[in-house]
């Protein structure tokens, strides 16, 4: 049941937001699966390339499609970044599935959205985008819990030969995450030297 409910919620959120003509990408647990790291997750996290000024329009759009805001005021301002949380109850289900929208206002978020990767959902006729593996690694490094560090290590192991190391090095340096990236590398590949572009 949960798989269908989460995917249905993702599909509905994606199609609801599409008319806003903004770049969007799936992040979080579902996006990890697109990069060969599969673990259970029960919510939908989206990065959307809209600025703070569009917050009210996003809320209006989502509410019209059956999403309820989780908090009041609906737009959480975290420094210069915004988070809007919604709950959605798909028909005939007992759970309200959470949908988090991160508004992509920073230079890094815009860079991440510019590298998103197209994919399709199994069984659902909709094309959507996921964050690149490098950007998922950077977001996980920012989150910093032991679970996130483990996700980082798993992404490194599964995608070692395909990662854009110069991009990872550039943004880990820009975001002050070089030590964190180096630590995860050592845990993922004990005894192996990091690629030359990495710190």
């Amino acid at each position: 049941m949960a798989r269908d409910v989460v995917l249905e919620t993702l599909r509905h959120a994606w199609e609801t937001l599409q008319p806003l003509n903004a770049s969007m990408a799936v992040m979080g647990g579902i996006a990890l699966a697109a990069w060969e790291h599969v673990r259970a997750t029960h919510d939908v996290d989206l990065l959307i390339g809209l600025e703070r000024a569009h917050g009210a329009r996003i809320v209006q759009h989502m509410e019209a499609a059956g999403f309820k805001t989780k908090r009041y005021p609906p737009v959480m301002q975290l420094g210069r970044l915004d988070l809007v949380q919604f709950l959605y109850n798909p028909p005939d289900t007992l759970l309200d599935i959470q949908v988090d929208l991160l508004l992509g206002e920073s230079e890094y978020q815009r860079a991440a959205l510019s590298r998103r990767v197209a994919t399709r959902l199994p069984g659902l006729d909709v094309e959507l985008f996921v964050l690149s593996c490098e950007d998922l690694i950077l977001y996980k490094l920012l989150a910093g819990r032991i679970l996130d560090v483990a996700d980082c290590a798993a992404l490194l192991v599964a995608n070692r030969g395909a990662l854009d190391w110069s991009y990872l090095a550039r943004w880990s340096q820009s975001l002050g995450l070089t030590r964190e990236l180096s630590d995860v590398w050592k845990r993922a590949f004990p005894g192996d030297r990091p690629p030359p572009q990495t710190p």
Binding site: G29, D45, S106, E107, P122, G144, S174
Partner: protein, 87 residues
């Protein structure tokens, strides 16, 4: 029986990468399996007469509170580091 490997190959041949669609399909299967175990665990916890739907909703709410703390922390970190490092 004799054609089985004795130990993992330290230098395995390159493998075919899973597509994003295949990864999400696998996630979908995993979700179904995990939920069955979750429900079994909740049932064991609340007993045969307990309200399983309520227990499931309560479990989900607690998970989402943890998730919210992570999101807030992540965005605070991104904001702080973007500010400090000019990103």
């Amino acid at each position: 029986m004799t054609d089985r490997p004795k130990q993992p190959d330290p230098d395995p041949a390159p493998r075919r990468r899973m597509t994003a669609e295949e990864g999400i399909a696998l996630w979908s299967d995993l979700m179904h399996t995990c939920e069955q175990f979750l429900l079994a665990g909740l049932r064991r916890k609340i007993g045969a007469d307990g309200d399983l739907d309520a227990a499931y909703r309560d479990w989900y709410a607690r998970r989402m509170e943890e998730h919210d703390q992570m999101m807030v922390r992540m965005l605070h970190e991104l904001d702080r580091r973007s500010h400090e490092h000019g990103a």
